[in-house]
Amino acid sequence: MPENTEQYQRAQRRFELNAAVRRSIIGGLDLPVDPDLVDDDQPLFGRGLELDSLDTLEIVSLMEEDFGVYITDEQRFVFGSVNKLVDFAEAAQLADNGA
């Protein structure tokens, strides 16, 4: 895919945002895991990264501080995986930009 196409640039932005969210969560929660080894569809809770309910508070805080988006109680489904968090962050940022 040519690097100057809109699709390529969108894919590149998404790749970088996923990596940034992985780094934010792994670093913020001080998890002994290499962020690059976390699958974007891997469950964050239970058998996945084994996070617990207290970690959700920290993720809400990290997403707000690092990406400017706030997760409410009604949007708790986004805690499922990195991809779900990034889907949510992209949609919230688009909404904020009036797109």
Partner: protein
Amino acid sequence: MERALSATELLQRLPHRHPFVLLDGLHSIDPGVSGVGIKNISISDPVFAGHFPGRPIYPGVMMIEAAAQACGVIGTFKDDVDGDQASIGYLATVKRFAFKELVIPGDQLQIQCRRHVSVGSLIEFKCTLTVGRKTVAEGSLAISVGHGDKQ
């Protein structure tokens, strides 16, 4: 309407009893959001028998507990309290507390608590503890709102 609670009114909302009721008052209450706790530091507090003999310094861990009691009342606050307390705030996490100045008998601690984030029954508050104009401690703590029967 200014919502404020005296020490005796706090006893209707806190399950704690002597010697572990650490608040003397709570004012500027915005239910679930913010409030300011008052803690008067007295030389007659039993903690000074050991912390430290001849050099009384109020322990940081007690300041965290006082802040947790304030956050617990703010987080579970309802205007009407009759009979048993419907819910209790249990201390769930303590994060990045720093103690910047010594707190000694004669000081009055003002404990400013403001909700930062919340998920489900968990509420995280940012707390700033001041004596006069000086910030003596600050940090974050989370409470878990649960049900409990008042004794």
